[in-house]
């Protein structure tokens, strides 16, 4: 399947390896990602803390750009925060006609218009529901059989929009991980918050929350994430050394792709223990 791709700002900066591995994985799976031309920031956490209206306008601009492609393809978003902003804008604009009219007056400034018809989907949604599990299983040849993986979902891909998984006890990653031959760690921290952007301004919060999460992951060989913010916090606030990799990196490795092609040299945590356990 083909998708419109919204990488978001983090994937251009601190989370480049997420972007690299995402693109590489989809290519390997035979799907095509088309980056939304001229996309801009979705507003991140900042916009909604500063200006309600702008927090709709910013994602709306990107939705309008996606619609402008007239491909009818779903928008794939790897960053959970961007996903939520775009999704929320899409829902609000869909339900609220006056708001849409107002937003369109602003977007006219850029020669754009939004009608909120495009579907916004998180990377994990696409990977679990569009048949990737079978393809991974076919291609992986059980390369990850020596690994136990702790799937970490974070928050915003699960909540508040309950789209593809149980928001309290998510399980969607299990099938993908098992498809690689790896075992899934049974733990209950998969949907527990890492502190997200609060950790930026209040590091002691991030430290404690991440500590709690990683404590429970001690029997796993790696934690797998689907959000640049989670990845950053889990890597940054480590007291013990737990490898943390992005899901597309992990799946790419399972498909036998070279580590370098998946940006595996860019992780802040030491992921050599993972790389060394991949069956060649």
């Amino acid at each position: 399947m083909d998708y419109l791709y919204y990488p978001g700002c983090s994937l251009e900066g601190t989370a480049q390896e997420y972007d690299i591995s995402c693109r590489a994985l989809f290519e390997a799976l035979g799907d095509r990602l088309t980056e939304i031309p001229d996309w801009t920031c979705c507003g991140a956490t900042a916009a909604q803390c500063v200006d309600q209206f702008l927090s709709v306008v910013l994602p709306a601009r990107n939705l309008a750009l996606a619609e402008k492609t007239e491909t009818g393809q779903d928008v794939l978003v790897p960053c959970s925060a961007c996903y939520l902003n775009l999704k929320k804008a899409r829902q609000d604009l869909w339900e609220n006609n006056p708001l849409r009219a107002q937003v369109n007056q602003v977007l006219a400034e850029d020669g754009l218009a939004v009608n909120a018809s495009v579907r916004v989907r998180h990377l994990l949604d696409v990977l679990t529901r569009d048949g990737a599990v079978d393809r991974v299983a076919q291609l992986s040849e059980n390369r990850m059989k020596d690994l136990v993986i702790a799937p970490y979902y974070g928050c915003q891909c699960l909540r508040p929009y309950v789209e593809f998984d149980d928001p309290e006890q998510p399980r969607s990653m299990d099938a993908l991980i098992r498809a690689t031959g790896a075992d899934v760690l049974a733990w209950d921290m998969g949907a527990v918050c890492c502190g997200a952007s609060t950790a930026t301004t209040k590091p002691q919060v991030g430290k404690e929350l991440v500590g709690r999460i990683l404590d429970q992951a001690k029997t796993a060989h790696a934690v797998v994430t689907v959000c640049p913010m989670c990845q950053m916090n889990l890597e940054r606030f480590q007291s013990r050394s737990v490898p943390v990799v992005y899901l597309p990196q992990f799946l790419g490795l399972a498909l036998g792709m070279p580590a370098k092609a998946l940006g595996c040299d860019m992780n802040l945590s030491d992921i050599k223990p993972v790389l060394s356990r991949v069956v060649p």
Partner: protein
Amino acid sequence: MLQTDIQEKLAARPDLTRHLAQVKEQMATCIQCGTCSSSCPNAGFMDMTPRRMWRAVLMDRVDMVFSSQTFMLCASCYVCTLRCPRGLPLTGAMAELKQVAFGLDLPRFRRSTLFYKAFMDNIRQYGRVRETELMARYFLAVKDPRVPMSYTGMGIKLMAKHKLHPHLPSRGPGRLAPLFDRAKQQEQ
């Protein structure tokens, strides 16, 4: 912060008073069951529980609300929103309290205010976040040498991984300025 200071500031801003009234209205059916607070991963770091803060909002105790850091500590994990038996938009309302607080320009939130302001300026300028520049401007604005220091270790790590690019190709100054201005207009 004295109650009267906050109240005076609020009185001078009818738009924020209105905004706060909207938040109160959204929260009206709260039954103080405490689900939000026992669910909140950050409750342990808060000076008052979300339940007490919402109660203060409902009881018009703006002094208590804005002398608290509680809403600033919301990480938008949406667990409370998911579980609230009254179906209240708690996470959204937290963000709205942040908006009011930033609007009031209270000294206690100065660092966060500056950070978000720097962030928004960054987007306005470049369309996308340029992390290096964002941090530089933020550090400049807080005028406190301890703040940049606390991020140094991180910066070095990122630099080592080639994740910080001091010279990203610029997309031209004021990339989203017209949109921002138009939005401002529209709001008024």
